[in-house]
Symmetry: C2
Subunit: 366 residues, 2 copies
């Protein structure tokens, strides 16, 4: 028997809390994913997502987690033997390297210390010194460390390279899109992905992938085996019929459509400003409790990773928050498992959502 | 702006209608997919699904459509160059051949005429005559033609081969599991997959894949590139932590858990008997209207494909059913697009759901 459900105040980096009105949309009856209502919903969802991605390129909706969209990004643009520069500042940057290796790429890792952002000048140096790379992979917002990479600057140094040396720019925007500005076309990104359970306030189950014209050329040429994530199938069905190729997660699409509508209604600038403001509010509140951010600058607007105070373990702190205050935060990843906790403040979050956490921490830490 | 939502009486082969109580479960607040509630839900979902698959082997829950689970079946067991016998009686059998080819398998198609079932003796002949195959792919219930393959007999002829000639049996059970008996262990299937929007009455968004011990050996050895669908990652996370490797479709899992609970509460035998009975009721009702099944025997308990009466097109018939009676049935696939309609009667369906269709058809056809 399932234990009784306990509602927790969710402050993890995803899934984020889903407001009641968005959850309610999922009670809409099921519909034919090849019928007129779903086609209209899909078309609108794509158009709204393009506004957040700030792209006029192609954009596709996948039924998968964010990791699925990372695989889609690799499998659709990389062929075995292709040289890939894998920029990493934490565990999700490493994941991109691993996926590229699984698909046979020759990956050169460019790892920065956890807590730091990627340095655009280092990226430029490597690209100038080394033989040409087919693609660069980069995480925009590194959820494991709470660092937002200076993506615009990194894209700028890459895109000033001569064409024959200029790699594709493949961006994991999973926890940044909708929380931070990511101007895909203006910055010259070629592939950008996100997932429904992050900055939108929708449940997990859908992912999004956008592709520039240059990226689309690569999709045509890439030799990696793929079918479920084959963007050529998505394009063919969408252009010919306005339909997805395979049965999509219809109920989550109901929710994600409404979540996107709400993001655009609030206005992108306002949404980004709110995330930045709440992130700062969180950092300042934690600082007053003696908890220092793990990041050394380039603070993420979506997630704050902090070292636990001396004498505390992340496990114990999280247990007490959950049991005594019904608040759920995340632990540290990888080698940070015993020293760091992570607070997600992306999606529909405001200062009023952070206050209960700060109050609970004040009581627990004394 | 989205058109106003119109509730249709869904009689398509999937997504199937989702009862209100199952939809309502999705309004449960979001939870941490690495927290205690979701772990308990996942463990129960896996145990319940194993009862329906009739297996004591490994079973994993994927966030994808059924096609994703077919890719998972191939990518996890097949290496480039492996010989695969692809049994096909319709468009989903062809899809399995295509996916295997995409992953570099050397596929020998064994195609039977659409409307026929696969002939176990033909399968036996090919396997005896040809050099050994690494795997056989087969669709249990072919949704495009309304035919249920005699899977038990086919497994029997395969499993009586000497070990060195006996291929893995990879089964697309997407539209059969929960509608027809599929005794995975007793029949000796090695990989079986299904998806949440079929015989369960749950929304799309999750898929299931079960693997025998022999199949698991193949998973360890398979050289196809994979990450998102890599069952070794699923096993590692589930065994070590009781968690999924990537963020799952939590809301759909809420629904699918409840749908599985209801299936087992009704009882597998009762569920199969109800599907068989409703299928026969549908065929008899259609016959009285002069509409003959496309299948020549081996009628599917999940979907009935019928030729439209002379002078009618599937498109026109479906349009009138939708516009005048708010009933949604499916069209024909591939070369049957202009001659066949398909009626889904899987999931929670009873005779009372078929009656409105028969009445509407009687009026429309005069």
């Amino acid at each position: 028997m399932l234990p009784e459900f306990e509602e927790l105040h969710l402050l993890i980096p995803g899934p984020t809390a889903v407001p009641e009105d968005i959850r309610h949309v999922m009670t809409r009856p099921m519909t034919n994913h090849r019928g007129p209502f779903y086609k209209a919903l899909l078309a609108e969802m794509v158009e709204m997502a393009k506004q957040v991605f700030q792209t006029q390129g192609r954009l596709f909706v996948l039924t998968s987690s964010g990791t699925g969209s990372m695989e889609a990004a690799i499998a659709n643009t990389i062929s075995p033997g292709d040289r890939v520069l894998g920029i990493s500042i934490g565990s999700f940057g490493k994941r991109f390297q691993i996926i590229a290796e699984r698909f046979g790429a020759e990956v050169t890792p460019l790892d920065f210390e956890w807590g730091e952002a990627a340095d655009p000048q280092k990226v430029a140096e490597v690209l100038e010194k080394e033989p040409p790379f087919h693609a660069v992979t980069i995480t925009h917002n590194e959820t494991s460390t709470g660092v937002l990479n200076p993506l615009e600057e990194i894209c700028a140094v890459i895109n000033q390279l001569p064409d024959e040396k200029r790699p594709l720019i493949i961006v994991d925007g999973i926890s940044s899109l909708g929380a931070a500005n990511l101007a895909m076309d203006a910055w010259g990104c070629d592939v950008v992905t996100t997932a429904s359970q992050k900055a939108w306030g929708a449940p997990p189950g859908l992912a999004f992938i956008a592709v520039s014209d240059r990226g689309w050329d690569a999709v045509q040429k890439a030799q990696s085996p793929r079918f479920y994530f084959d963007l050529r199938e998505y394009e063919r069905y969408f252009v010919n019929k306005g339909e997805p190729p395979w049965t999509p997660s219809v109920s989550v699409a109901y929710a994600m459509h409404e979540a996107l509508r709400q993001v655009l209604e609030e206005g992108l600038e306002n949404v980004f400003a709110r995330h930045a403001r709440v992130a700062q509010y969180t950092r300042e509140g934690l600082a007053q409790l003696g908890m220092k951010p793990f990041a050394r600058g380039h603070y993420s607007p979506a997630v704050t990773a902090v070292r636990v105070p001396e004498g505390w373990s992340p496990q114990e702190l999280r247990r007490r928050l959950r049991e005594e205050y019904k608040i759920e935060i995340a632990g540290g990843q990888g080698h940070l498992a015993d020293s760091v906790v992570r607070i997600g403040h992306l999606g529909k979050v405001t200062e009023a959502d952070i206050d209960p956490l700060l109050e609970a921490l004040a009581r627990i830490l004394g």
